[in-house]
Symmetry: C2
Subunit: 158 residues, 2 copies
DNA sequence: CGAAGAACATTGCGCATTCAACATTTGCAG
DNA sequence: CTGCAAATGTTGAATGCGCAATGTTCTTCG
């Protein structure tokens, strides 16, 4: 027989879903309004700006963003069109295209990052005390440790 | 000047995003594979089954699911096509359409619920201890209390 | 070396979603 | 009572994403 969720578990689960949905919606709205950037696009810029040479292989970037190859191709299409990212064929492997941050892209991420961080604080962290924040971090670590390694080992830019 | 996230805060935030994405993807895959139901469709059935008379106004249902009116119209289209939900014009207000759970819909939700709950346990709750679960619940409550009431007061079917 | 198979990026197609426009109905102000 | 604004649901156009198929390049193994 199924063991249903008790009150604590229900609050933990439904709260997670609700809060996450709300916070993400707010962040999206603020980022779009103030910088014309969708959260998905912001994610691309964040990863590129943190990467060696401000560039990543399409393949790796897609995995990091939990995006399908075709999904990333089109997201990059958009960022190329707005001039924030540039495509560059790899010299070492001619199958590979690298997405490279342009100067405009660097400006955009520098402008948008404070908005994003501020949003995370205002909509989430400001309402939690230090203990709760630490417990959250430990909880996610426990869950991720138990999870088959989706985006395994070999990156340190996170 | 922007106050950036410290290590604890970063772990709490990025972990939240990552874990949520992973768990939702797993739940979706399992639900689709075993019951042919997307999480979004499951959500409709859950809300209807918990509602008075197993029916809700389109309008209220859309708000509860954080979905636009047109988005809900089309999601219900799908569920009507597969016979899990039925449309019924309201008697009191002729602008209103009510989405009603059919017997097939009731069967579907009863069949799928154990899969969903089991998934929430296996992918999330099983890796947390009781203290962490309670802190999570309290954290979400704090965040939601501070949030302008998106889905305000007058419902008790949650 | 040479061929088979894997890896990478893109494209076509279908599906789900949102926004804007619309038609109908209700509620309210005067 | 009248008329106008708000509420409700649907449709059309546009967007974003995933899956499958494709073309190219690399790698591995006989």
């Amino acid at each position: 027989m199924t063991r249903w969720l008790d009150d604590d578990e229900m609050r933990a689960w439904r709260g997670l879903v609700e809060v996450m949905a709300g916070v993400e919606a707010d962040l999206e709205a603020e980022l779009v309004e103030r910088h014309g950037l969708a959260v998905g696009e912001y994610g691309v810029l964040v990863h590129l700006s943190e990467a060696e040479g401000e560039a990543m292989r399409m393949c790796d970037l897609a995995a990091r963003l939990h995006l399908s190859p075709s999904g990333l191709t089109r997201r990059i299409d958009g960022l190329v069109r707005t001039g924030l990212v540039r495509r560059e064929p790899s010299k070492e492997d001619r199958r590979v295209m690298r997405a490279v941050l342009t100067p405009a892209g660097r400006s955009a991420i520098h402008a948008a990052a404070p908005t994003h961080v501020d949003g995370v604080r205002r909509h989430l962290l400001d309402h939690l005390d230090r203990t709760q924040i630490r417990v959250l971090g430990q909880a996610w670590a426990a869950v991720q440790a138990a999870r088959p390694n989706r985006a395994g080992a070999p990156k340190r830019t996170d």
